[in-house]
């Protein structure tokens, strides 16, 4: 627990935490205190920012601030869900393969490598485009989660494999513990901080991946997301028209989200990984 306290003393960690918390608050509390409307036009297309509409309107004349907040919610949701799915799959595969070793490990590693080699973006694109009508945020998140777990599987596997040689694991084995008991009692608790960091990175990846495929026009069908906002801006030549409010805030939000998560992760790594500690 003193480790966690040490974390809160690091400026980097605090910066990341504040930034991320800020976006989280905006996403969760925004709709409650602000009047958000993503369905009705409030002005002409690409109207410049006014006192009432701080970021003007988009190509359809919808209030940009509303779009951004809803888009932020969507991106966070997708990122989070994708992160959870990818971390779960990756951890499960990594921990069993890493602990058991031998044939099981070889099979799981081969499978992981296979998934690694398949360009997930292409899979995403193919799956997404084949589901023209049904692309919901949840579906996108699940697809992302199921295609980006390879990194966490490898990372967790390496950690689990090194834990295998520990004395308390050997003692658990000669106590007759089953593999499941050893994995849950002797291996996972020691990996928790690591898995948490993996989860943070997977969430960041999820957010970025969603933005990417939305930019390619394969985003959610009937909801807003930050990537979709960027795509719309691109499609409707907001750049040429000088309507910076149509894409810069969205870009900014994506950057802040991913940056803050990476910074939190790096700070945590410095604290939790003894070899990196100064």
């Amino acid at each position: 627990m003193t480790l966690v306290k040490g974390l809160f003393k690091l400026p980097a960690f605090l910066l990341g935490l504040v930034l991320f918390a800020g976006t989280l608050v905006l996403a969760l509390v925004g709709p409650l205190i602000m009047h958000l409307d993503v369905k009705n036009r409030v002005g002409p297309p690409y109207m410049a920012p006014t006192g009432e509409h701080w970021l003007g309107t988009d190509h359809l004349g919808l209030d940009m601030v509303s779009m951004l907040v809803m888009g932020l919610r969507a991106s966070l949701y997708v990122g989070f869900l994708a992160g959870v799915v990818a971390t779960l799959i990756g951890t499960l595969i990594g921990v069993y393969g890493g602990y058991k070793g031998g044939l099981l490990d070889d099979i799981l590693t081969a499978g992981t490598n296979l998934f690694l080699v398949i360009p997930s973006l292409i899979v995403l694109i193919l799956l997404s485009s084949s589901m023209d009508e049904g692309r919901s945020l949840t579906l996108i998140a699940l697809i992302l989660g199921c295609t980006t777990w390879t990194w966490s599987a490898r990372a967790v596997r390496a950690q689990a494999s090194s834990l295998r040689a520990r004395d308390h694991v050997a003692l658990a084995r000669i106590n007759g513990f089953s593999t499941f008991q050893i994995v849950t009692e002797q291996i996972l608790p020691y990996l928790l901080s690591y898995v948490f960091m993996v989860f943070i990175l997977q969430t960041a990846t999820g957010i970025l991946s969603e933005a990417t495929i939305s930019m390619l026009g394969l985003g959610p069908y009937d909801s807003v997301s930050l990537g979709k906002i960027l795509n719309d801006a691109k499609q409707n030549e907001a750049l040429n028209g000088g309507a910076w409010w149509a894409f810069m805030p969205a870009m900014f939000l994506v950057t802040v989200l991913v940056f803050s998560l990476y910074v939190i992760n790096t700070a945590m790594e410095g604290v939790f990984n003894p070899r990196l500690r100064k």
Partner: protein
């Protein structure tokens, strides 16, 4: 010490890796361990003694050769839990032997999972209490405590308490005193002897300390580069060594009673100045 053989090894080998990168940790080892005997596997780091001990513990499988326990091949015994009900171990570092996330008492209790029929909860608690008393620890002292809250000496005794609970026939003790202060060593050895007496155990010590091996063992085996290079009673091995490895080892160990490095005699020092 009866004549029944607890362990019999014939041409036992363990090779890691394959092809050019293969390393032979244990090479063609043959020996017998009698019931209720105390033997020591002695050697420097890398000599293969730990890998051999793990094979006796069924934590490593031999790549060739035969290993029998109570007359039957170990590998064929089916459920390894049967083996572990009879062969147990204590390791070198007591802190790394226990999980830092669970209380020490619950970890001792979890040893009962090895039993074929788990006793009632009350009986398990009683037996844990009894095991703790056997190593001179009052159960109240460690109630609700986690490993990091106990001292090194207490943790060492926890490893032994676990053996009192499991009551195996054979105990493999891997460097049981190398992390212990010299003054506390003898009490660990005392507990081990107590265990041996009460449970009629056979003990296999794995150590680099030939002085320790000499003191405790009935038979001594010196290992070097995976092979057994010398075997016999402690006196045979230390007073009448046959192998060059043993001779070199005995020569290299600093001992109070013997000359160790030849030096030109330094001039006798003046006694230290009084305060």
């Amino acid at each position: 010490m009866s004549d029944a053989l607890k362990f019999e090894a014939k041409g036992l080998s363990r090779v890691f890796g394959h092809g050019k990168k293969a390393t032979t940790a244990v090479r063609d080892v043959t020996f017998e361990i009698k019931d209720k005997e105390i033997i020591s596997l002695v050697g420097q780091s890398g000599c293969g003694k730990t890998v051999l001990a793990k094979m006796l513990l069924r934590l490593e499988t031999p790549t060739s050769g035969e290993l029998l326990f109570n007359g039957k091949p170990i590998a064929a015994a089916g459920d390894p839990r049967n083996h572990w009900r009879q062969v147990q171990a204590v390791f070198q570092d007591p802190f790394s032997c226990f999980n830092q996330f669970f209380t020490i008492r619950s970890q001792l209790k979890s040893s009962f999972r090895l039993f074929e029929t788990k006793p009632s909860d009350k009986e398990m608690e009683d037996r844990v209490d009894q095991a703790l008393l056997n190593v001179n620890i009052k159960p109240k002292e460690v109630e609700g405590k986690y490993p990091f809250e106990l001292s090194g000496g207490q943790m060492q005794r926890m490893l032994l308490a676990r053996i009192f609970i499991l009551k195996p026939q054979v105990l493999i003790a891997d460097e049981p005193t190398s992390m212990v202060d010299a003054c506390s060593r003898a009490s660990i050895l005392d507990y081990l002897m107590k265990l041996k007496q009460e449970l009629s155990m056979t003990i296999v010590f794995v150590t680099h300390d030939i002085g320790l091996a000499y003191y405790v063992s009935d038979s001594l085996y010196i290992m070097h580069q995976g092979e057994i290079v010398e075997r016999g009673t402690p006196d045979d091995v230390t007073q009448r060594p046959k192998s060059d490895v043993t001779k070199q080892l005995l020569d290299d160990i600093p001992d109070v009673h013997r000359e160790w490095i030849k030096r030109d005699a330094p001039k006798p020092p003046d006694p230290p100045t009084p305060v």
